[in-house]
Protein backbone atom coordinates (compact mmCIF):
# COMPACT_ATOMS: atom_id res chain seq x y z
CA UNK A 1 0.00 0.00 0.00
CA UNK A 2 1.37 3.39 -0.97
CA UNK A 3 0.57 6.57 0.93
CA UNK A 4 1.69 10.11 0.29
CA UNK A 5 3.46 11.59 3.28
CA UNK A 6 2.45 15.10 2.27
CA UNK A 7 -1.23 14.11 2.16
CA UNK A 8 -1.03 12.33 5.50
CA UNK A 9 0.73 15.22 7.11
CA UNK A 10 -1.73 17.70 5.75
CA UNK A 11 -4.68 15.66 7.02
CA UNK A 12 -3.02 15.42 10.41
CA UNK A 13 -2.60 19.21 10.22
CA UNK A 14 -0.60 19.96 13.33
CA UNK A 15 -1.27 23.66 12.91
CA UNK A 16 2.35 24.76 12.96
CA UNK A 17 2.77 27.81 10.76
CA UNK A 18 6.31 28.91 9.93
CA UNK A 19 6.74 32.28 8.21
CA UNK A 20 3.26 33.56 9.08
CA UNK A 21 1.81 35.78 6.38
CA UNK A 22 0.04 39.07 6.96
CA UNK A 23 -2.26 39.65 3.99
CA UNK A 24 -3.98 42.98 3.59
CA UNK A 25 -7.57 42.01 4.44
CA UNK A 26 -9.10 45.07 2.78
CA UNK A 27 -7.27 44.52 -0.48
CA UNK A 28 -8.07 40.80 -0.37
CA UNK A 29 -11.74 41.47 0.24
CA UNK A 30 -11.87 43.82 -2.75
CA UNK A 31 -10.22 41.17 -4.94
CA UNK A 32 -12.59 38.43 -3.77
CA UNK A 33 -15.65 40.62 -4.35
CA UNK A 34 -14.37 41.47 -7.83
CA UNK A 35 -14.08 37.78 -8.64
CA UNK A 36 -17.49 36.96 -7.20
CA UNK A 37 -19.25 39.74 -9.06
CA UNK A 38 -17.47 39.31 -12.39
CA UNK A 39 -19.13 36.88 -14.80
CA UNK A 40 -15.80 35.98 -16.35
CA UNK A 41 -12.51 35.53 -14.52
CA UNK A 42 -11.10 38.72 -15.91
CA UNK A 43 -14.29 40.48 -16.89
CA UNK A 44 -14.20 44.24 -16.47
CA UNK A 45 -16.65 47.05 -16.57
CA UNK A 46 -17.70 48.62 -19.82
CA UNK A 47 -14.94 50.77 -21.20
CA UNK A 48 -15.48 54.28 -19.91
CA UNK A 49 -12.54 55.37 -21.98
CA UNK A 50 -14.17 54.19 -25.16
CA UNK A 51 -17.33 56.12 -24.34
CA UNK A 52 -15.40 59.28 -23.45
CA UNK A 53 -13.30 58.91 -26.57
CA UNK A 54 -16.47 58.49 -28.61
CA UNK A 55 -17.90 61.71 -27.16
CA UNK A 56 -14.68 63.59 -27.81
CA UNK A 57 -14.42 62.11 -31.28
CA UNK A 58 -17.95 63.27 -32.07
CA UNK A 59 -16.84 66.83 -31.26
CA UNK A 60 -13.78 66.48 -33.44
CA UNK A 61 -15.60 64.75 -36.24
CA UNK A 62 -13.46 61.62 -36.28
CA UNK A 63 -14.12 58.02 -35.35
CA UNK A 64 -13.13 56.96 -31.87
CA UNK A 65 -12.34 53.55 -33.20
CA UNK A 66 -10.41 54.44 -36.28
CA UNK A 67 -9.36 51.92 -38.88
CA UNK A 68 -5.95 50.56 -38.16
CA UNK A 69 -3.33 51.88 -40.54
CA UNK A 70 -1.40 48.61 -40.69
CA UNK A 71 -4.15 46.15 -41.49
CA UNK A 72 -4.28 42.44 -42.07
CA UNK A 73 -2.62 42.56 -45.50
CA UNK A 74 0.22 44.61 -44.01
CA UNK A 75 0.55 42.01 -41.26
CA UNK A 76 0.52 39.03 -43.61
CA UNK A 77 3.47 40.50 -45.45
CA UNK A 78 5.47 40.70 -42.25
CA UNK A 79 4.93 37.58 -40.18
CA UNK A 80 5.38 34.01 -41.19
CA UNK A 81 2.94 32.35 -38.78
CA UNK A 82 0.40 30.30 -40.71
CA UNK A 83 -2.25 31.31 -38.21
CA UNK A 84 -2.44 34.77 -39.71
CA UNK A 85 -4.33 33.16 -42.62
CA UNK A 86 -6.96 31.84 -40.20
CA UNK A 87 -8.19 35.25 -39.01
CA UNK A 88 -10.41 37.94 -40.50
CA UNK A 89 -9.90 41.72 -40.43
CA UNK A 90 -11.28 43.61 -37.44
CA UNK A 91 -9.30 46.88 -37.48
CA UNK A 92 -10.58 48.52 -34.34
CA UNK A 93 -8.51 50.60 -31.96
CA UNK A 94 -8.72 52.64 -28.80
CA UNK A 95 -6.23 55.07 -27.29
CA UNK A 96 -5.67 56.02 -23.66
CA UNK A 97 -2.64 57.63 -22.00
CA UNK A 98 -1.13 58.00 -25.46
CA UNK A 99 -1.02 54.24 -26.05
CA UNK A 100 -3.08 52.84 -28.91
CA UNK A 101 -4.38 49.30 -28.57
CA UNK A 102 -5.63 47.85 -31.86
CA UNK A 103 -7.16 44.58 -32.91
CA UNK A 104 -5.90 44.05 -36.44
CA UNK A 105 -7.62 40.74 -37.01
CA UNK A 106 -9.30 37.96 -35.07
CA UNK A 107 -11.22 34.73 -35.36
CA UNK A 108 -13.20 32.63 -32.97
CA UNK A 109 -12.94 28.84 -32.79
CA UNK A 110 -15.69 27.61 -30.45
CA UNK A 111 -14.56 28.42 -26.92
CA UNK A 112 -11.24 29.80 -28.17
CA UNK A 113 -10.28 32.98 -30.00
CA UNK A 114 -7.17 34.13 -31.81
CA UNK A 115 -6.28 37.81 -32.11
CA UNK A 116 -3.55 39.81 -33.77
CA UNK A 117 -3.14 42.94 -31.72
CA UNK A 118 -0.84 45.93 -31.95
CA UNK A 119 0.36 48.42 -29.35
CA UNK A 120 1.70 51.79 -30.43
CA UNK A 121 2.78 54.92 -28.57
CA UNK A 122 1.03 57.86 -30.24
CA UNK A 123 2.61 60.41 -27.87
CA UNK A 124 6.07 60.26 -29.38
CA UNK A 125 7.59 59.17 -26.04
CA UNK A 126 8.69 55.83 -27.50
CA UNK A 127 7.32 53.77 -24.64
CA UNK A 128 6.36 50.83 -26.86
CA UNK A 129 9.50 48.76 -27.40
CA UNK A 130 10.01 45.00 -27.88
CA UNK A 131 10.47 44.50 -24.11
CA UNK A 132 7.04 45.83 -23.09
CA UNK A 133 4.83 43.61 -20.97
CA UNK A 134 1.07 43.56 -20.80
CA UNK A 135 -1.70 41.18 -19.85
CA UNK A 136 -4.59 41.03 -22.28
CA UNK A 137 -8.03 40.67 -20.73
CA UNK A 138 -10.59 38.77 -22.79
CA UNK A 139 -13.88 36.94 -22.39
CA UNK A 140 -11.88 33.74 -21.89
CA UNK A 141 -10.77 32.22 -18.62
CA UNK A 142 -7.15 32.24 -19.78
CA UNK A 143 -5.49 34.61 -22.20
CA UNK A 144 -1.87 34.57 -23.30
CA UNK A 145 0.06 36.83 -25.64
CA UNK A 146 3.30 36.55 -27.54
CA UNK A 147 5.24 39.23 -29.40
CA UNK A 148 5.42 38.11 -33.03
CA UNK A 149 6.73 41.24 -34.75
CA UNK A 150 8.11 44.65 -33.90
CA UNK A 151 7.74 47.38 -36.49
CA UNK A 152 10.76 49.66 -35.96
CA UNK A 153 9.48 52.25 -38.40
CA UNK A 154 6.03 52.67 -36.95
CA UNK A 155 6.98 51.82 -33.35
CA UNK A 156 4.33 49.10 -33.24
CA UNK A 157 4.55 45.86 -31.32
CA UNK A 158 2.41 43.08 -32.79
CA UNK A 159 1.16 40.34 -30.50
CA UNK A 160 -0.57 37.05 -31.17
CA UNK A 161 -3.18 36.65 -28.42
CA UNK A 162 -4.88 33.35 -27.65
CA UNK A 163 -7.95 33.21 -25.45
CA UNK A 164 -9.50 29.97 -24.19
CA UNK A 165 -12.49 29.09 -22.08
CA UNK A 166 -14.87 31.56 -23.68
CA UNK A 167 -18.38 30.77 -22.47
CA UNK A 168 -20.50 33.46 -24.12
CA UNK A 169 -22.47 32.24 -27.11
CA UNK A 170 -22.20 35.28 -29.40
CA UNK A 171 -22.15 39.07 -29.50
CA UNK A 172 -19.23 41.49 -29.36
CA UNK A 173 -16.10 40.11 -27.76
CA UNK A 174 -14.08 42.34 -25.42
CA UNK A 175 -10.33 42.70 -25.48
CA UNK A 176 -8.86 44.99 -22.88
CA UNK A 177 -5.72 46.06 -21.07
CA UNK A 178 -5.46 47.85 -17.73
CA UNK A 179 -1.74 48.50 -17.49
CA UNK A 180 1.44 48.41 -19.50
CA UNK A 181 4.97 47.83 -18.26
CA UNK A 182 7.68 49.49 -20.26
CA UNK A 183 11.24 50.80 -20.08
CA UNK A 184 12.63 47.75 -18.32
CA UNK A 185 16.09 48.22 -16.85
CA UNK A 186 18.27 45.84 -14.93
CA UNK A 187 19.58 46.99 -11.58
CA UNK A 188 22.09 45.62 -9.10
CA UNK A 189 25.53 46.78 -10.16
CA UNK A 190 25.94 49.36 -7.38
CA UNK A 191 25.92 48.39 -3.69
CA UNK A 192 23.56 50.08 -1.25
CA UNK A 193 25.19 52.57 1.11
CA UNK A 194 24.32 50.71 4.27
CA UNK A 195 26.80 50.20 7.14
CA UNK A 196 26.40 46.44 7.54
CA UNK A 197 29.02 45.95 10.25
CA UNK A 198 27.35 48.55 12.45
CA UNK A 199 23.87 47.03 12.40
CA UNK A 200 22.19 46.49 15.76
CA UNK A 201 21.85 42.90 16.97
CA UNK A 202 18.26 42.41 18.07
CA UNK A 203 16.05 39.68 19.44
CA UNK A 204 13.31 38.16 17.30
CA UNK A 205 10.54 40.23 18.88
CA UNK A 206 12.60 43.45 18.65
CA UNK A 207 13.28 42.72 14.98
CA UNK A 208 9.61 41.97 14.35
CA UNK A 209 8.62 45.31 15.89
CA UNK A 210 11.27 47.15 13.88
CA UNK A 211 10.14 45.53 10.65
CA UNK A 212 6.49 46.42 11.27
CA UNK A 213 7.18 50.05 12.14
CA UNK A 214 4.61 51.96 10.04
CA UNK A 215 6.57 55.19 9.71
CA UNK A 216 9.98 53.76 8.99
CA UNK A 217 12.44 56.41 7.78
CA UNK A 218 14.73 55.61 4.85
CA UNK A 219 18.23 54.43 5.78
CA UNK A 220 19.41 54.62 2.17
CA UNK A 221 18.05 54.39 -1.36
CA UNK A 222 18.34 51.18 -3.32
CA UNK A 223 20.57 52.20 -6.25
CA UNK A 224 18.78 52.36 -9.59
CA UNK A 225 15.41 51.51 -8.09
CA UNK A 226 13.69 54.82 -8.89
CA UNK A 227 12.50 55.36 -5.34
CA UNK A 228 12.78 52.21 -3.21
CA UNK A 229 14.49 52.61 0.16
CA UNK A 230 15.96 50.34 2.80
CA UNK A 231 13.97 51.38 5.84
CA UNK A 232 15.09 48.89 8.49
CA UNK A 233 18.02 46.55 8.96
CA UNK A 234 19.22 44.44 11.84
CA UNK A 235 21.11 41.28 12.66
CA UNK A 236 18.91 38.70 14.33
CA UNK A 237 19.53 35.07 15.23
CA UNK A 238 21.97 34.30 12.44
CA UNK A 239 20.27 36.39 9.79
CA UNK A 240 20.61 39.79 8.20
CA UNK A 241 17.03 41.07 8.29
CA UNK A 242 16.11 43.84 5.87
CA UNK A 243 13.02 45.82 5.11
CA UNK A 244 12.64 47.97 2.05
CA UNK A 245 9.76 50.28 1.20
CA UNK A 246 8.23 51.47 -2.03
CA UNK A 247 5.56 54.08 -2.58
CA UNK A 248 2.28 52.51 -3.71
CA UNK A 249 1.13 53.77 -7.08
CA UNK A 250 4.36 55.60 -7.91
CA UNK A 251 4.37 54.25 -11.45
CA UNK A 252 7.12 51.67 -11.04
CA UNK A 253 7.16 47.90 -10.72
CA UNK A 254 10.23 46.54 -8.99
CA UNK A 255 11.35 42.94 -8.90
CA UNK A 256 14.29 43.13 -6.51
CA UNK A 257 16.30 40.46 -4.77
CA UNK A 258 18.86 41.37 -2.09
CA UNK A 259 22.25 39.76 -2.56
CA UNK A 260 24.93 39.98 0.11
CA UNK A 261 28.46 39.63 -1.25
CA UNK A 262 30.96 38.87 1.51
CA UNK A 263 34.55 40.10 1.59
CA UNK A 264 35.54 36.64 0.30
CA UNK A 265 33.23 37.07 -2.69
CA UNK A 266 30.55 34.60 -1.56
CA UNK A 267 27.07 35.54 -2.73
CA UNK A 268 24.33 35.04 -0.14
CA UNK A 269 20.69 35.56 -0.94
CA UNK A 270 17.22 34.35 -0.18
CA UNK A 271 13.64 34.97 -1.15
CA UNK A 272 12.48 34.12 2.36
CA UNK A 273 10.51 36.83 4.06
CA UNK A 274 7.20 38.53 3.59
CA UNK A 275 5.61 41.43 1.79
CA UNK A 276 2.87 43.85 2.76
CA UNK A 277 1.12 45.67 -0.05
CA UNK A 278 -1.69 48.07 0.66
CA UNK A 279 -2.87 51.41 -0.63
CA UNK A 280 -0.79 53.10 2.08
CA UNK A 281 2.22 50.83 2.61
CA UNK A 282 4.25 48.64 0.34
CA UNK A 283 7.15 47.01 2.06
CA UNK A 284 9.11 43.81 1.82
CA UNK A 285 11.08 41.95 4.46
CA UNK A 286 13.93 39.62 3.57
CA UNK A 287 16.04 37.38 5.80
CA UNK A 288 19.53 36.42 4.61
CA UNK A 289 21.29 33.75 6.68
CA UNK A 290 24.85 34.92 7.37
CA UNK A 291 27.40 34.81 10.16
CA UNK A 292 27.67 38.13 11.97
CA UNK A 293 31.42 38.41 11.35
CA UNK A 294 30.88 38.02 7.60
CA UNK A 295 29.03 41.35 7.52
CA UNK A 296 32.32 43.15 7.98
CA UNK A 297 33.52 44.10 4.54
CA UNK A 298 30.38 42.70 2.87
CA UNK A 299 28.38 44.65 0.29
CA UNK A 300 24.64 44.58 -0.20
CA UNK A 301 23.23 44.68 -3.71
CA UNK A 302 19.65 44.60 -4.92
CA UNK A 303 19.52 42.71 -8.19
CA UNK A 304 16.55 42.55 -10.52
CA UNK A 305 14.55 44.71 -12.86
CA UNK A 306 12.55 47.91 -12.61
CA UNK A 307 9.74 48.74 -15.01
CA UNK A 308 7.78 51.88 -15.48
CA UNK A 309 4.09 51.12 -15.30
CA UNK A 310 1.29 52.97 -17.00
CA UNK A 311 -2.31 52.54 -15.92
CA UNK A 312 -5.25 53.24 -18.17
CA UNK A 313 -8.43 51.83 -19.61
CA UNK A 314 -8.19 50.27 -22.99
CA UNK A 315 -11.12 48.15 -24.11
CA UNK A 316 -12.41 47.19 -27.52
CA UNK A 317 -15.69 45.39 -28.09
CA UNK A 318 -15.39 43.77 -31.49
CA UNK A 319 -17.68 41.60 -33.56
CA UNK A 320 -15.89 38.99 -35.56
CA UNK A 321 -16.77 35.68 -37.06
CA UNK A 322 -16.59 32.18 -35.77
CA UNK A 323 -14.82 29.58 -37.84
CA UNK A 324 -16.68 26.52 -39.07
CA UNK A 325 -13.35 24.71 -38.88
CA UNK A 326 -14.01 23.17 -35.48
CA UNK A 327 -15.03 19.81 -34.05
CA UNK A 328 -16.83 19.89 -30.71
CA UNK A 329 -17.77 16.87 -28.62
CA UNK A 330 -18.83 15.98 -25.11
CA UNK A 331 -17.59 12.68 -23.74
CA UNK A 332 -16.38 10.78 -20.67
CA UNK A 333 -12.61 10.41 -20.46
CA UNK A 334 -10.87 7.60 -18.59
CA UNK A 335 -7.66 8.88 -17.05
CA UNK A 336 -5.56 8.32 -13.97
CA UNK A 337 -8.08 5.92 -12.42
CA UNK A 338 -10.86 8.46 -12.82
CA UNK A 339 -13.65 8.96 -15.29
CA UNK A 340 -13.94 12.63 -16.21
CA UNK A 341 -17.61 12.88 -17.02
CA UNK A 342 -19.09 15.21 -19.62
CA UNK A 343 -15.76 16.62 -20.68
CA UNK A 344 -16.04 19.16 -23.46
CA UNK A 345 -13.48 18.87 -26.26
CA UNK A 346 -12.80 21.28 -29.11
CA UNK A 347 -10.48 20.58 -32.03
CA UNK A 348 -9.72 23.63 -34.13
CA UNK A 349 -6.93 24.93 -36.35
CA UNK A 350 -5.34 26.22 -33.11
CA UNK A 351 -5.17 22.78 -31.52
CA UNK A 352 -7.14 20.86 -28.90
CA UNK A 353 -8.92 22.31 -25.87
CA UNK A 354 -10.55 20.39 -23.06
CA UNK A 355 -12.87 21.56 -20.28
CA UNK A 356 -13.90 19.34 -17.38
CA UNK A 357 -15.89 19.87 -14.22
CA UNK A 358 -13.78 19.66 -11.08
CA UNK A 359 -16.68 18.20 -9.11
CA UNK A 360 -15.79 14.58 -8.45
CA UNK A 361 -12.47 14.81 -10.26
CA UNK A 362 -10.53 15.88 -7.17
CA UNK A 363 -6.97 16.93 -7.75
CA UNK A 364 -6.91 16.06 -11.42
CA UNK A 365 -3.61 16.89 -13.11
CA UNK A 366 -4.32 17.49 -16.78
CA UNK A 367 -0.60 17.99 -17.37
CA UNK A 368 -0.20 14.23 -17.29
CA UNK A 369 -3.06 13.47 -19.69
CA UNK A 370 -1.72 11.88 -22.90
CA UNK A 371 -3.16 13.68 -25.95
CA UNK A 372 -2.65 12.77 -29.58
CA UNK A 373 -4.39 13.40 -32.89
CA UNK A 374 -4.48 11.19 -35.93
CA UNK A 375 -4.63 13.07 -39.23
CA UNK A 376 -4.13 12.10 -42.84
CA UNK A 377 -0.49 13.13 -42.37
CA UNK A 378 0.07 10.81 -39.42
CA UNK A 379 -0.08 10.95 -35.64
CA UNK A 380 0.53 14.17 -33.76
CA UNK A 381 1.46 13.83 -30.09
CA UNK A 382 0.48 16.99 -28.17
CA UNK A 383 1.00 15.71 -24.63
CA UNK A 384 3.87 17.97 -23.62
CA UNK A 385 2.54 21.17 -25.18
CA UNK A 386 -0.35 21.95 -22.89
CA UNK A 387 -1.19 25.02 -20.89
CA UNK A 388 -3.61 24.66 -18.02
CA UNK A 389 -6.13 26.64 -16.03
CA UNK A 390 -7.68 25.40 -12.83
CA UNK A 391 -10.67 27.49 -11.77
CA UNK A 392 -12.96 26.95 -8.86
CA UNK A 393 -15.47 24.80 -10.69
CA UNK A 394 -13.68 23.58 -13.77
CA UNK A 395 -10.30 22.70 -15.15
CA UNK A 396 -9.28 23.62 -18.69
CA UNK A 397 -6.35 22.65 -20.84
CA UNK A 398 -5.28 23.64 -24.32
CA UNK A 399 -2.70 21.88 -26.44
CA UNK A 400 -1.70 24.24 -29.26
CA UNK A 401 -0.26 23.14 -32.57
CA UNK A 402 2.70 24.81 -34.28
CA UNK A 403 1.04 25.16 -37.67
CA UNK A 404 -2.70 25.44 -38.33
CA UNK A 405 -4.48 22.15 -38.20
CA UNK A 406 -6.69 21.12 -41.11
CA UNK A 407 -9.62 19.94 -39.04
CA UNK A 408 -11.10 18.11 -42.01
CA UNK A 409 -8.11 15.78 -42.00
CA UNK A 410 -8.45 14.78 -38.35
CA UNK A 411 -9.76 11.22 -38.05
CA UNK A 412 -9.37 10.58 -34.32
CA UNK A 413 -8.34 12.10 -31.01
CA UNK A 414 -6.92 10.16 -28.09
CA UNK A 415 -7.27 11.59 -24.56
CA UNK A 416 -5.91 9.29 -21.87
CA UNK A 417 -7.25 5.84 -22.69
CA UNK A 418 -10.30 7.23 -24.48
CA UNK A 419 -10.33 7.49 -28.28
CA UNK A 420 -12.74 9.71 -30.14
CA UNK A 421 -13.41 9.02 -33.82
CA UNK A 422 -14.43 11.79 -36.20
Amino acid sequence: MDVRISDLLFAACPGDLPNPSEPDAGRLRALVMKKIKSPGRRARRTGRTVLLAAALAALLGVSALAAVSGGLDWLRERISSGFVDEVEPVERSVTDEGIELSIIAAQRFGDQALYYVSLRDTSGLGRVQPDIMWQPISAGSSTISELVYFDETGGRAIFEVRAAGIERADGPMPLAMSSLRYDMREVGRTPAELDLSGLPELTGSETGALMREPNAEPLCEIPGSAGAYITAAAYCEGELVLRYDETPGDGYVRELRPVLVTAEGERLSTDRGSAVWSDIYRYTRRNIPVNREELTGAKLYFEGVVYSELYGEWEIQADFGGSAQILERELDIAFDGLVLEDASVTVSPMGVCLSVSRAGSGDIDLGRLPVSLTTESGELDLTTRGSFYYGGDCARACWPVETPLDVGEVSSLRLGSTELQF
Binding site: S6, A11, A12, P18, D271
Partner: protein, 178 residues
Protein backbone atom coordinates in the same frame (compact mmCIF):
# COMPACT_ATOMS: atom_id res chain seq x y z
CA UNK B 1 -20.39 36.45 15.26
CA UNK B 2 -19.01 32.90 15.22
CA UNK B 3 -18.27 30.38 12.46
CA UNK B 4 -21.79 28.95 12.60
CA UNK B 5 -23.69 32.22 12.34
CA UNK B 6 -21.19 33.63 9.84
CA UNK B 7 -21.59 30.58 7.61
CA UNK B 8 -25.35 30.93 7.70
CA UNK B 9 -25.06 34.59 6.79
CA UNK B 10 -22.58 33.81 4.05
CA UNK B 11 -24.88 31.17 2.59
CA UNK B 12 -27.58 33.87 2.47
CA UNK B 13 -25.25 36.13 0.47
CA UNK B 14 -24.18 38.46 3.29
CA UNK B 15 -20.96 40.22 2.20
CA UNK B 16 -20.30 41.34 5.79
CA UNK B 17 -19.90 37.69 6.72
CA UNK B 18 -17.36 37.26 3.92
CA UNK B 19 -15.37 40.16 5.36
CA UNK B 20 -15.56 38.54 8.78
CA UNK B 21 -14.13 35.27 7.42
CA UNK B 22 -11.38 37.13 5.60
CA UNK B 23 -10.40 39.00 8.77
CA UNK B 24 -10.44 35.81 10.79
CA UNK B 25 -8.83 33.29 8.45
CA UNK B 26 -6.90 35.09 5.69
CA UNK B 27 -3.58 35.02 7.56
CA UNK B 28 -3.98 31.28 8.12
CA UNK B 29 -4.83 30.52 4.48
CA UNK B 30 -2.18 32.94 3.20
CA UNK B 31 0.47 31.25 5.31
CA UNK B 32 -0.31 27.88 3.74
CA UNK B 33 -0.31 29.34 0.24
CA UNK B 34 2.76 31.54 0.65
CA UNK B 35 4.78 28.70 2.12
CA UNK B 36 3.92 26.53 -0.88
CA UNK B 37 4.24 29.13 -3.62
CA UNK B 38 6.89 31.66 -2.63
CA UNK B 39 9.47 32.12 -3.98
CA UNK B 40 8.65 29.74 -6.85
CA UNK B 41 5.82 32.02 -8.00
CA UNK B 42 5.13 35.71 -7.45
CA UNK B 43 3.30 37.44 -4.62
CA UNK B 44 0.57 38.26 -7.15
CA UNK B 45 0.10 34.55 -7.92
CA UNK B 46 -0.16 33.84 -4.21
CA UNK B 47 -2.68 36.62 -3.73
CA UNK B 48 -4.76 35.31 -6.64
CA UNK B 49 -4.80 31.83 -5.09
CA UNK B 50 -5.73 33.29 -1.71
CA UNK B 51 -8.64 35.19 -3.23
CA UNK B 52 -9.83 31.98 -4.92
CA UNK B 53 -9.95 30.30 -1.49
CA UNK B 54 -12.50 32.81 -0.27
CA UNK B 55 -14.43 32.70 -3.53
CA UNK B 56 -14.76 28.94 -2.92
CA UNK B 57 -15.88 29.60 0.65
CA UNK B 58 -18.51 32.04 -0.64
CA UNK B 59 -19.82 29.52 -3.13
CA UNK B 60 -19.74 26.51 -0.80
CA UNK B 61 -20.93 28.11 2.43
CA UNK B 62 -24.17 26.14 2.52
CA UNK B 63 -22.29 22.82 2.37
CA UNK B 64 -19.60 23.48 4.99
CA UNK B 65 -19.91 22.20 8.55
CA UNK B 66 -19.31 25.02 11.07
CA UNK B 67 -16.82 22.92 13.03
CA UNK B 68 -14.90 22.21 9.82
CA UNK B 69 -14.32 25.74 8.46
CA UNK B 70 -10.64 25.84 9.34
CA UNK B 71 -9.99 22.41 7.84
CA UNK B 72 -11.99 23.32 4.74
CA UNK B 73 -9.99 26.50 4.20
CA UNK B 74 -6.72 24.66 4.75
CA UNK B 75 -7.66 22.03 2.17
CA UNK B 76 -8.82 24.58 -0.38
CA UNK B 77 -5.74 26.74 0.18
CA UNK B 78 -3.53 23.76 -0.46
CA UNK B 79 -5.44 22.78 -3.59
CA UNK B 80 -5.37 26.31 -5.00
CA UNK B 81 -1.64 26.53 -4.34
CA UNK B 82 -1.17 23.22 -6.15
CA UNK B 83 -3.30 24.52 -9.02
CA UNK B 84 -1.08 27.57 -9.31
CA UNK B 85 2.03 25.41 -9.37
CA UNK B 86 0.54 23.14 -12.01
CA UNK B 87 -0.48 26.09 -14.13
CA UNK B 88 3.21 26.99 -14.21
CA UNK B 89 4.18 23.36 -14.76
CA UNK B 90 5.83 23.18 -11.36
CA UNK B 91 5.70 20.41 -8.78
CA UNK B 92 6.41 20.48 -5.08
CA UNK B 93 10.04 19.35 -4.75
CA UNK B 94 9.36 16.53 -2.30
CA UNK B 95 11.88 13.83 -1.38
CA UNK B 96 10.38 10.33 -1.54
CA UNK B 97 6.87 11.54 -0.82
CA UNK B 98 5.42 8.12 -1.62
CA UNK B 99 5.75 5.79 1.34
CA UNK B 100 5.29 2.09 0.58
CA UNK B 101 3.77 0.15 3.44
CA UNK B 102 3.29 -3.61 3.64
CA UNK B 103 -0.11 -4.64 2.31
CA UNK B 104 -2.38 -5.32 5.27
CA UNK B 105 -4.67 -8.28 5.63
CA UNK B 106 -8.39 -7.77 5.06
CA UNK B 107 -9.04 -6.91 8.71
CA UNK B 108 -5.78 -5.15 9.39
CA UNK B 109 -6.03 -2.05 7.20
CA UNK B 110 -5.86 1.18 9.13
CA UNK B 111 -8.83 3.46 8.82
CA UNK B 112 -8.20 6.98 7.56
CA UNK B 113 -8.68 8.28 11.07
CA UNK B 114 -6.10 5.84 12.42
CA UNK B 115 -3.64 6.83 9.68
CA UNK B 116 -4.04 10.48 10.61
CA UNK B 117 -3.76 9.83 14.33
CA UNK B 118 -0.64 7.75 13.89
CA UNK B 119 0.88 10.39 11.62
CA UNK B 120 0.19 13.05 14.21
CA UNK B 121 1.67 10.84 16.89
CA UNK B 122 4.83 10.24 14.81
CA UNK B 123 5.29 13.94 14.16
CA UNK B 124 4.67 14.86 17.80
CA UNK B 125 7.31 12.37 18.84
CA UNK B 126 9.97 13.95 16.62
CA UNK B 127 12.43 16.29 18.31
CA UNK B 128 13.50 19.67 16.93
CA UNK B 129 14.85 20.51 14.45
CA UNK B 130 13.76 17.24 12.81
CA UNK B 131 10.10 18.01 13.37
CA UNK B 132 10.37 21.48 11.89
CA UNK B 133 12.31 20.19 8.89
CA UNK B 134 9.77 17.43 8.29
CA UNK B 135 6.88 19.89 8.42
CA UNK B 136 8.62 22.46 6.24
CA UNK B 137 9.25 19.83 3.59
CA UNK B 138 6.15 17.65 3.54
CA UNK B 139 3.58 20.09 4.90
CA UNK B 140 4.65 23.27 3.12
CA UNK B 141 6.58 21.79 0.23
CA UNK B 142 9.80 23.71 0.88
CA UNK B 143 12.75 22.24 -1.00
CA UNK B 144 15.82 20.78 0.66
CA UNK B 145 18.05 23.67 -0.42
CA UNK B 146 15.47 26.20 0.76
CA UNK B 147 15.24 24.57 4.20
CA UNK B 148 19.01 24.28 4.43
CA UNK B 149 19.37 27.98 3.67
CA UNK B 150 16.63 28.97 6.11
CA UNK B 151 18.11 26.92 8.96
CA UNK B 152 21.75 27.55 8.06
CA UNK B 153 22.25 23.84 7.66
CA UNK B 154 23.97 21.57 5.18
CA UNK B 155 21.61 20.13 2.53
CA UNK B 156 22.81 16.60 3.28
CA UNK B 157 21.96 17.13 6.94
CA UNK B 158 18.44 18.15 5.94
CA UNK B 159 18.12 15.02 3.79
CA UNK B 160 19.35 12.83 6.64
CA UNK B 161 16.81 14.32 9.03
CA UNK B 162 14.03 13.89 6.48
CA UNK B 163 15.00 10.25 6.07
CA UNK B 164 14.90 9.83 9.84
CA UNK B 165 11.43 11.36 9.89
CA UNK B 166 10.22 9.03 7.15
CA UNK B 167 11.54 6.03 9.06
CA UNK B 168 9.80 7.17 12.22
CA UNK B 169 6.56 7.68 10.35
CA UNK B 170 6.83 4.28 8.67
CA UNK B 171 7.49 2.65 12.05
CA UNK B 172 4.41 4.31 13.51
CA UNK B 173 2.20 3.37 10.58
CA UNK B 174 3.31 -0.27 10.59
CA UNK B 175 3.27 -0.64 14.37
CA UNK B 176 1.62 -3.91 15.31
CA UNK B 177 2.21 -5.51 11.92
CA UNK B 178 3.65 -8.97 12.06
Amino acid sequence: MDDRSALAALAAGDETALGWFIERYSAYAATIIDNMLLPRLTAADAEEALADVFVSLWRSAARIRPEGVRAYLAGIARNRARDALRAHRLELPLEEDLLSLPSPGPDEALTERELIERTRSAVDAMTEPDRGIFLRHYYYGQGVAEIAAALDMNANTVKTRLRRGRERLRAELTKGDA
